[in-house]
């Protein structure tokens, strides 16, 4: 059974149709990259999957595990195991990263009918995850994303992902705004989280991230549809030729 099965997905933002019939299947453990020119609907796809308000599905279906994902609210989707690493993570003043993450973690436990973790247990868990990622958990002492550099924000997203252990991680332009060193750090983190049970949907504009996070499949999203799919070589082709062939924003 595919972990994610998208069939003929159409979605609007306001009055405008952005997704015009997306078809995509992701198996457990696979890493899929979705690349495309600006305005092609890449972020829209991630928001529609995550269940953001204002993004309206007009046709098609999305099955996650064996659930109709579109029936669930955003928080329910998260508790079922969908994680979105944001392109521009927002600040939450006055709320420390640790508090935020513990709330998120306990929400999932509650959803699953399990007992919540107490502060000590949780701290230990976070410390060990951070260690595995070669990251410090210091940034969790600060209010979420407040005053964080671009790299810190992205690393924070990865640390959250490590703690929340999603089944499907959607990385929305995780590489945007990062220099090579920051990029490598983030990529190392993502790679450390690849397992047979975890699937990833990596949305990116540039192929260089895919030098570090090697995808199983690459798809080109343009004009609201997946125009072509292939392996890693497709990404290299795109780097060489650009998106001109697929462009023509209609």
């Amino acid at each position: 059974m595919s972990i994610l099965s998208i069939e003929n997905l159409h979605a609007n933002v306001g009055e405008t149709e952005i997704l015009r019939g997306i078809n995509l299947k992701i198996e457990p453990g696979e890493v899929h990259a979705v690349m495309g020119p600006n305005g092609s609907g890449k972020s829209t796809l991630s928001y529609v999957l995550a269940g953001r308000d204002g993004y309206c599905v007009t046709d098609g279906s999305v099955e996650f595990k064996d659930i109709d994902l579109l029936e669930l609210e955003a928080d329910e989707r998260a508790n079922e195991g969908v994680f979105l690493a944001f392109q521009y993570p927002v600040e939450v003043p006055g709320v420390t990263g640790m508090t935020f993450l513990r709330e998120a973690y306990n929400s999932r436990l509650r959803y699953e009918g399990r007992e919540e973790a107490d502060a000590m247990e949780f701290l230990k868990l976070v410390r060990s995850k951070a260690k595995d990622l070669n990251m410090s958990d210091d940034m969790l002492k600060r209010p979420v994303n407040v005053g964080f550099s671009g790299g810190e924000k992205k690393r924070n997203e990865i640390l959250q992902m490590a703690v929340l252990e999603p089944k499907l991680a959607i990385l929305d332009e995780t590489d945007s705004g990062l220099d090579i060193d920051a990029l490598k750090l983030v990529a190392d983190g993502v790679n450390a989280l690849r397992t047979n049970e975890r699937s990833m949907l990596i949305i990116t504009h540039y192929q260089r991230l895919l030098d570090y996070i090697k995808p199983d499949h690459v798809h080109v999203l343009a004009r609201g549809q997946i125009q072509r799919s292939g392996g890693k070589e497709l990404a290299l082709e795109l780097e060489a030729n650009g998106y001109a062939e697929f462009d023509g924003k209609g």
């Binding site: 995550a50 609210e73 928080d75 998260a78 994680f83 944001f86 006055g94 709330e103 929400s107 999932r108």
Partner: protein
């Protein structure tokens, strides 16, 4: 609490003429009839066995009240109060009690559960059982009080203090909030029936937080409470008023007066968590909380800080204030005021700088949701002698939804050129981005609002004593239920 025959005789001797309106037999009654007049006041004073000076003070206040007009300048609207339609004295036995939790409003019970209040306490709070029935003979409250007495701390009801420590009460009552101060304080001075009295002796740092919860009152729950706290030289006390559980009360008007006095090098920390019944979603039946709270930093290097979390009441109208008389004295005001549905709040503070090098800090967080209206009204007044005075005021409003209002009315009067007064204000809404970020991490929309709002209020919440802080956080979440989506 019925009055005994000796007392009744004594009172008759003193005030025989006054009872020519047929009041003689009424002393045996547990409840004064509705209405307000000098007889009722004498009745109250007699019931409490008060010395004559206090009765006279009450009467002076009452006569003054008759000459006053009810103020209407606050940005709140409420149904006119008929002052003759209230009972000003009722013994506890007369209150209609629900026989069991089954008779209590299920909404109320739901809130108790959310706040994690144990069943026994739920019974206490909803009036199913009287206070003393909850605690057994070797009760927490008894040991608590014994410890305090050992240390020389006086903590009792104001009525008891009037009987046991009349000189102390006489010295300080009305010295911070004079009987003529304002309409509601004047009314309170005439008819107050309960409240706390605290005296902390020289040099003593009271090791326990004093909580009104433990002040078992044999008398009626105050609709007109009068509290007086005195910290002698070098003393420290932290006082907690209120509780997070919503309290129903048939008395709609709550006009309390709180007076704090700090002598040299003393400090009083006064924390309030107020969750009086806010009325239904249209505000009907809720409590009016019109309170006068003022602290006088009489002594040098003394400090008074007010911390409040106001989430209840249909209408809240209060300005806990500090008079910074002593040189180097410090006044602080930390407030979170939440209004939802149809609640209204006009609240803030007054910092009056008299002495040299006095400092005041005001941090006010107002959160409005539903169709509520929330006004911050603050005064920073620097008098000519207040050399080197400093004030910092930060006033932040958070709006949830499109139908609520937040207003700021700051007054700054400075008559000393060396003073520094800073005022910052922000207004914001909970952004959709923040909500989505939280929800994408698994938080429900309600949990998200609660988290974001608690973050917004952090600077104030961290001033609360631990036991209140945890409850207050839960309370904030509960008060904003239904405000989003």
């Amino acid at each position: 609490m019925s009055i005994d025959a000796n007392t009744a005789d004594r009172v008759k001797e003193l005030e025989v003429d006054k009872y020519k309106y047929g009041f003689v037999t009424n002393i045996e009654m547990e409840t004064a009839p509705k209405g307000l007049n000098e007889d009722i006041i004498r009745f109250i004073s007699a019931k409490k066995e008060e010395p004559d000076w206090l009765l006279q003070w009450r009467l002076k206040a009452y006569r003054h009240w008759l000459t006053m007009d009810e103020p209407d300048w606050a940005k709140v609207g409420y149904d006119k109060i008929d002052y003759q339609d209230l009972h000003y004295y009722a013994a506890p036995k007369n209150i209609d009690r629900p026989k069991s939790l089954d008779e209590v409003d299920p909404e109320l019970l739901k809130t108790y559960e959310k706040l994690g209040i144990p069943l026994k306490e739920q019974e206490l709070l909803s009036g199913v059982v009287a206070v003393d029935a909850v605690f057994d003979s070797v009760s927490v409250a008894t040991t608590y009080k014994a410890k305090l007495t050992e240390m020389g701390v006086i903590f009792c009801s104001i009525s008891e203090a009037v009987r046991e420590y009349p000189e102390l009460v006489e010295k300080y009552i009305g010295s911070v909030v004079p009987y003529s101060d304002n309409y509601f304080a004047t009314l309170n001075s005439a008819v107050f029936t309960d409240g706390s009295f605290v005296y902390v002796p020289k040099g003593l740092r009271c090791p326990m937080e004093l909580s009104t919860y433990f002040r078992i009152n044999a008398e009626n729950t105050g609709q007109f409470e009068r509290t007086l706290i005195i910290a002698d030289e070098g003393a420290y006390v932290s006082y907690l008023e209120g509780c997070t559980a919503p309290q129903r009360d048939e008395n709609q008007l709550h006009a309390a007066v709180v007076e704090l006095v700090t002598l040299d090098n003393a400090e009083i920390k006064y924390s309030t968590v107020q969750n009086w019944y806010p009325g239904d979603e249209n505000g009907k039946g809720g409590i009016y909380n019109f309170v006068t709270k003022r602290g006088a930093c009489r002594g040098e290097n003394s400090k008074i800080s007010w911390t409040q979390v106001e989430t209840g009441s249909a209408v809240t109208w209060k300005y806990p204030s500090c008079i910074l008389q002593g040189d180097n004295s410090i006044g602080e005001f930390y407030s979170v005021a939440i209004t939802n549905n149809a609640q209204q709040a006009d609240t803030g503070t007054k910092m009056i700088h008299l002495g040299k090098n006095t400092r005041s800090t005001v941090i006010s967080k107002g959160i409005s949701a539903g169709r509520a209206d929330n006004t911050y009204r603050g005064l920073v007044k620097i008098l000519p002698r207040a050399e080197g005075a400093r004030n910092f005021t930060q006033c932040d409003s958070l709006l949830i939804g499109n139908k609520c209002g937040a207003h700021t009315v700051p007054y700054i009067e400075s008559r000393n050129p060396s003073a520094r007064v800073e005022h910052e204000a922000t207004t914001s809404k909970i952004s959709e981005d923040q909500m989505f970020y939280c929800m994408q991490r698994g938080l429900s929309s309600e949990a998200a609002v609660s988290l974001i709002v608690n973050g917004f209020c952090k600077e104030v919440m961290k001033e609360l004593p631990m036991e209140f802080a945890v409850e207050a956080q839960k309370l904030i979440g509960i008060s904003l239920e239904g405000s989003v989506g």
